[in-house]
Assembly symmetry: C2
Homo-oligomer: 534 residues x 2
């Protein structure tokens, strides 16, 4: 069922002698299949093919690129239950979760296909010539976004579909017109292989060039660094640990002749603010929502709420104990891989020794069976503010409550919070008025601000921002989920007095794509531009 | 007439004992005034004021920000002739050029004011809630661009108005909602001071917070590095040398706890492709246009054409000699400052010793009087391809002709060209068809592709891209001129289920700003959204 191949463009590659096996935390053993580590030569050929494919792929029109993305979705669907069953084995996630994630992944591909067909995402802007302008005539100037070139995507362990081989980074880069080389995540190599074959089948069916997609297997940083340093690579999409993300960022910004952008989503502990009136009115409901969010997917979400800020009042103790009871009722569950499980228990252990940290609840250590159990800790604001280590991500079902004496102290504590993917406010309308300054601080800290619901659950839509200030990501100007994710893999080019023949369709006078464009500072459709200019 | 002060927000500061004087290449002597180097304490207070001002300034509505920008333009206009006269003394540029540049600078401020009033630049996107969606309801999600925080701007020597104190970086950062700290360029400190006082007068008149603008004087890298490392600074705008730009890039990406974006426009030699039919048809005209462009402003433009690619044919020799004659007719003229003049003659001298380089024309060395004279060199494609040093920018009125034997060699030579602000094609329609592959290579190399006119002259408009792949800039995804420049100083934030009260105006249901927004994937005006949703 598994070949263990790399895919060097359309060509399977297994030249390497070194093989990897996947350890299944669900089965508590290695799975039998061998996966072949890419050789230096295979890496080189994949990058060359990507560079050559770029010249072809960037010129393929939006409709065909859209068809490619939709066919990938179909091919993933065609993999059927064997994909889900393999992913269960390799990730320990549940069938329900994986089925949902697969649907999300296919919808994401289709969303980008729709975005391509709609077409305005290229931000076409036209300033027509003004030959009679005084003192100087104006040239005809037209700009649009064009693809940046071959992109390397690093799959994440915690979303074997949605942030992996055919996940958001791959979908948005392919949509933008960039060939993709995926570095497979070694925790779910079989899942990766199945999805890679789906992408390749789709590329062949829709006539995409060899090299538009490659799939490489490697150990730790070696393959990743080789790709990040390669001159043919023009951007990197990454989801994973702070350490690995920063290592890629360092390489991309300081160890290349030509630096490239790195979109690394790394580390977020997603502060939650539970405000006084809300806690009085709905302690049970908020505790239940937070407990469910903290333990969702065994806490292995980048949007997992890791910090909970409360103001000391009579009900605070009750709220914390309700939350603790809720967490205590959640059974331990299988984690994604050995490393994550070990790090979780190490992180959970460390925090109990930090100054002022009190353990509220600690589920039994089930690390021997690779299962994670919940943990809840508390600390006062002063100790929180003075100790940056309390902001190290503990990836798993644990959270830290920060007790603040009053709003002034809460403001200080929030100022000390690092950049985050999300921040959440539980508050009544009165709370939000009274604590406006606190909520405004959170706006500065995050990419998405959630009101009265939990941060886990990232909608794939036009308005989504799944990004945020450092260290949540290396580039807080972008998102890795939602339609705007495509903007990471493009750059603007301006054409001055360009002959109509040579202009890209998006910029032609006749607007053959029928897209919305900004003409002389005004957003217009085809008709309006034609009326104005002809 | 000159106080020699720094401006720490609204407060003049001259605590430092160290003073600078401006050397006037026009007068060939130091000008009498002393300018005070900012002390560490003044730097610190300026950044603190910028951080505090950000909290106020970001909430000031677009109309008021627009009025601030327009008032800066008025105050610059009010400086009258003394500004022009001082700039002539400090830069050696002509009155006509400086008057034009001042108009451009004021127009740029007004363009951003108009952009703010129009309002759609914030890219408001709304995906309304779908409470009944199956299997899961959708939350209400709304995103827009918000200002990033205090920005440091490094003025350039060659545009004392348009890329300096109130230039494009300052205008776009202030428009975005970011306070600005300008590091004055030491070659035109008097000009800077006048413009700084205009900005401060405008800030006071329009009720902007103290700290929205500061103005600091310093030597070489010391002040720049202190600002680039400061935690309160969230982005850097820079125009200048490769060395200085890369030093800021290194600091910003690897020597800060939190990396920040650097928009450094550094080094571009702007390749020009003169194609066979065109050269046959219009050798005189093209030679005249190129000569004028090479020597415009004594060649001190970032878009100066430094590489001219031709294909060997009978007329090539004639074309080169026409160009040489044209250049020989251009008199030497005063350069911006001593360093630039010295570097120009050093660079011009060095290139004559590079392998295969032949001097076509060399104007007399007028470095003793700080004047630059034109130079023209030629080399064959093979020597060009094998020697990266031929792509070092020679900032001044010099250019290198690359002779290619045929299209295949031209393609190779173009592939070896580094990233550029601009690339230019002189070609008939037939040429452009025949050399399509060459033109396509240029698209990959530049931010702006010019057809049948010269790259100097950068229009301030909606479609302008004044940016390009490294080493032209450190961030080829952006522009430093034109409306899109504002996007450098913002980041997207998504609001999930946010109460109407707390939503920024751009995202409120009622669309009080009346801006175009993307609602459920469709671009709509206020009315349409209201019709759809209410």
């Amino acid at each position: 069922m598994f070949s263990g191949h790399n895919y060097i463009g359309f060509t399977p590659g297994s030249q390497g002698e070194k093989k990897l096996k996947v350890f299944s935390t669900a089965r508590q053993d290695f799975l039998p299949e061998d996966f072949s580590v890419a050789t230096d030569d295979e890496i080189q050929v994949a990058t060359e093919k990507a560079a050559a494919a770029f010249d072809v792929y960037k010129k393929i029109d939006s409709d065909q690129r859209a068809a490619f993305l939709e066919t990938i979705a179909e091919e993933i669907s065609n993999l059927g239950d064997k994909l889900i069953q393999r992913a269960i084995l390799e990730t320990g996630l549940t069938e329900a979760r994986l089925t949902g994630e697969r649907a999300r992944t296919m919808n994401q591909l289709r969303m980008f296909a729709n975005l391509l067909r709609e077409g305005s995402w290229v931000e076409a802007v036209i300033d027509p010539a003004m030959p009679d302008r005084k003192p100087l005539p104006r040239a005809d100037l037209r700009k649009m976004l064009l693809p940046i070139g071959p992109v390397v995507v690093f799959g994440a362990s915690n979303f074997p579909f949605a942030f992996s081989t055919a996940g958001g980074d791959t979908a948005s880069a392919l949509a933008a017109g960039c060939p993709v080389i995926v570095k497979a995540h070694s925790s779910h190599l079989g899942t990766n292989e199945l999805v890679a074959t789906a992408i390749i089948a789709a590329a062949k069916k829709t006539g995409m060039p060899d090299g538009v997609f490659s799939f490489l297997i490697g150990e730790g940083g070696k393959l990743g660094q080789a790709l990040a340093k390669h001159p043919a690579i023009k951007a990197i999409g990454f989801t994973g640990s702070y350490k690995a993300g920063m290592s890629l960022y360092k390489t991309a910004t300081s160890e290349r002749a030509v630096p490239i952008p790195v979109y690394a989503e790394m580390s977020s502990i997603n502060p939650v603010l539970v405000l006084p009136e809300k806690i009085e009115a709905s302690a049970d409901a908020v505790a239940a929502q937070l407990s469910a969010s903290i333990t969702l997917g065994v806490g292995q979400f980048c949007t997992n709420p890791g910090l909970i800020f409360v103001i000391d009042q009579p009900i605070t103790e009750t709220f914390i104990s309700k939350l603790s009871n809720q967490l205590a009722a959640v059974p331990e569950a299988t984690m994604l891989n050995q490393t994550i499980c070990k790090s979780y228990y190490t992180g959970r252990g460390k925090i109990t020794h930090e100054k002022g940290v009190k353990t509220v609840f600690l589920g039994e250590d089930a690390g021997n069976s690779f299962k994670g159990s919940p943990g809840l800790f508390e600390v006062n604001a002063i100790d929180f503010i003075s100790n940056n280590d309390l902001q190290n991500e503990i990836f798993g079902p644990a959270s830290l409550v920060i007790r603040c004496s009053d709003q002034a102290q809460l403001i200080q504590a929030l100022h000390s919070v690092h950049g985050q993917l999300t921040a959440t406010v539980f508050g009544t309308p009165g709370d939000i008025r009274d604590y406006k300054d606190c909520v405004n601080i959170l706006v500065e800290k995050c990419g998405r601000l959630v009101f009265n619901s939990v941060p886990t659950g990232v909608e794939v839509c036009h308005a989504m921002i799944h990004g945020g200030p450092f260290p949540a990501t290396t580039d807080g100007r972008t998102t890795s989920v939602g339609a705007e994710a495509i903007k990471r893999f493009v750059r603007p080019v301006c054409f001055q007095d360009c002959p109509e023949d040579f202009l890209p369709d998006a910029l032609k006078d006749s607007n053959p794509l029928g897209i919305m464009r900004k003409v002389d500072g005004v957003y217009v459709t085809a008709t309006r531009f034609q009326e104005q200019e002809h």
